[in-house]
Symmetry: C2
Subunit: 262 residues, 2 copies
DNA sequence: CGCCCATTTGACAGCTTTCAAATCGCGTGG
DNA sequence: CCACGCGATTTGAAAGCTGTCAAATGGGCG
């Protein structure tokens, strides 16, 4: 994995995969500075690890969650249902992401969380997380940053669904997942497994599965990607980025500036 | 203003408008408990107040902001541009909201912020805010909650734009603004001023202004709202809520549970 | 009174959905 | 090893919601 941008790999990231909550630590240390005690407190957070099957529901809308979860491996989605019965996926989480901070801090879950693949999840009691934020403010700030990033991605999704046509939306999603997988240290950027059915992709993009199918074929026909089952190979990064109107600013890959956080 | 739900006013909130940063304090105390020292520290935050004209740009995408802002009065929007030149409004802020926490914590702004009306803004130096979060963890947690709410609203918008038809989207926005104005203590819920042109509403909903016009007329024709210039009177709350598939769970109006936060 | 911008209206085009039906992929069982 | 079954993917044709383009109308301000 290279550490400087190239045409083939415009969004490199140092490789430093870790186990357990360390994945989450690695992620938040990208923007915030933590000292040894902070790290120890985070890694020492009491938690239990639970395994979920594919398509399992981790949190259901309107639940009153008692734990916050960190995704250790696998892929999950957040989704909402609207009255017509249609479903909208409002976010995708990869290993190292907090998957229901959103829900666990408030009383009532405003969306559901499901696994796309088998997944390992670290369950942290709500109160333990809040206590940690209180006792180690730097960690609290770091988790806050994580929430800010989540919100930033959500805003980009609003723009994606609201103002881009189907082909562009799809290309944008493919770019985002490539970069996020790379950030999380899963798979290479130019070729990755996207364990989503076309119907799930459609639910993430506000389209129908039929149309997603057509657009996937269009992107493939234009030589931007190559598909074999559910693995995606990006054949032409520059073109796909252009096709997807993709600008990674919203992912805030920028390194923390020296001294930006105590 | 009543304090218990009624058919005409399903989302009451105790009235306690305050001046300056107190508005923000009032908002975040809805979910988190702050002690006197916390409050004093927040209210004592060094800041300057700046006035903006209508349609002024407060933060521009790709800026490197040096301050975080709290909106003291007026209305602002966040928006993004896509390559086709179209604009998507990804959020609306009312008095008491932090309007560019999102931008100011990261290095590079991922969206722009503009005023819809003349607006008063409290500018807080980035570092002061971070120092506050470090020295008063409860305040840090409270601001984190604010970000979580913002993210929750963004997710609802994704669902709104992605999976609801034009009429429903519009009704949903009208419901949301009614509740948020009421939460913020601005105007009554059943009748409020929405200082947005139909083009701006369109940009918020991922529609065209022409179609927004048609849908506004449809809602009015069906007797759900009455319009006079840009003020909206909700003639039939129950029906509008149904038409907009509106469920206020995502606004997390639930009061903090006793002892939920130290 | 007149200009300018926002709103309104109508006709038409187009992107996406809908509805089926056919095909494919793959795990299961014979 | 091959047949079967079931869900996912593909494909085609037609309908529909929303967008586009233009022109008319309306309202506020100088």
């Amino acid at each position: 994995m290279s550490t400087s941008p190239t045409a083939a790999n415009p969004f490199p990231l140092e490789a430093a995969p870790r186990r357990g909550l360390g994945l989450f630590l690695r992620k938040i240390e990208h923007w915030t500075r933590l000292d040894a005690a902070d790290r120890a407190a985070l890694l020492g957070l009491s938690h239990s690890v639970r395994h979920f099957f594919r398509h399992a529901t981790i949190v259901r809308e309107r639940d009153r969650p008692t734990h916050s979860c960190v995704l250790l491996s696998g892929l999950t989605i957040r989704h909402k249902l609207v009255s017509s019965g249609a479903r909208q996926i409002v976010g995708i989480q990869v290993a190292g992401d907090m998957i229901d901070l959103q829900n666990s801090m408030f009383e009532i879950a405003d969306h559901s969380i499901q696994t796309l693949t088998t997944a390992e999840v670290a369950l942290v009691p709500r109160q333990a997380l809040r206590d940690l934020a209180a006792s180690r403010p730097s960690v609290g700030t770091a988790m806050w940053f994580d929430t800010l990033l989540d919100a930033s991605i959500a805003r980009e999704w609003i723009a994606n669904v609201g103002r881009r046509d189907a082909r562009t939306r799809l290309a944008h999603l493919l770019c985002e997942m490539a970069v996020r997988f790379e950030m999380a240290g899963i798979g290479r950027q130019s070729c990755y497994e996207l364990p989503m059915s076309q119907e799930q992709i459609a639910d993430a993009l506000g389209l129908t599965s039929v149309h997603v199918n057509r657009m996937l074929k269009a992107l493939e026909g234009d030589g931007l990607i190559v598909r074999t089952r559910r693995s995606v190979t990006i054949a032409d990064w520059a073109q796909l980025i252009r096709a997807g109107d993709f600008d990674s600013t919203y992912l805030h890959l920028e390194q923390r500036s020296p001294g930006s956080i105590q």
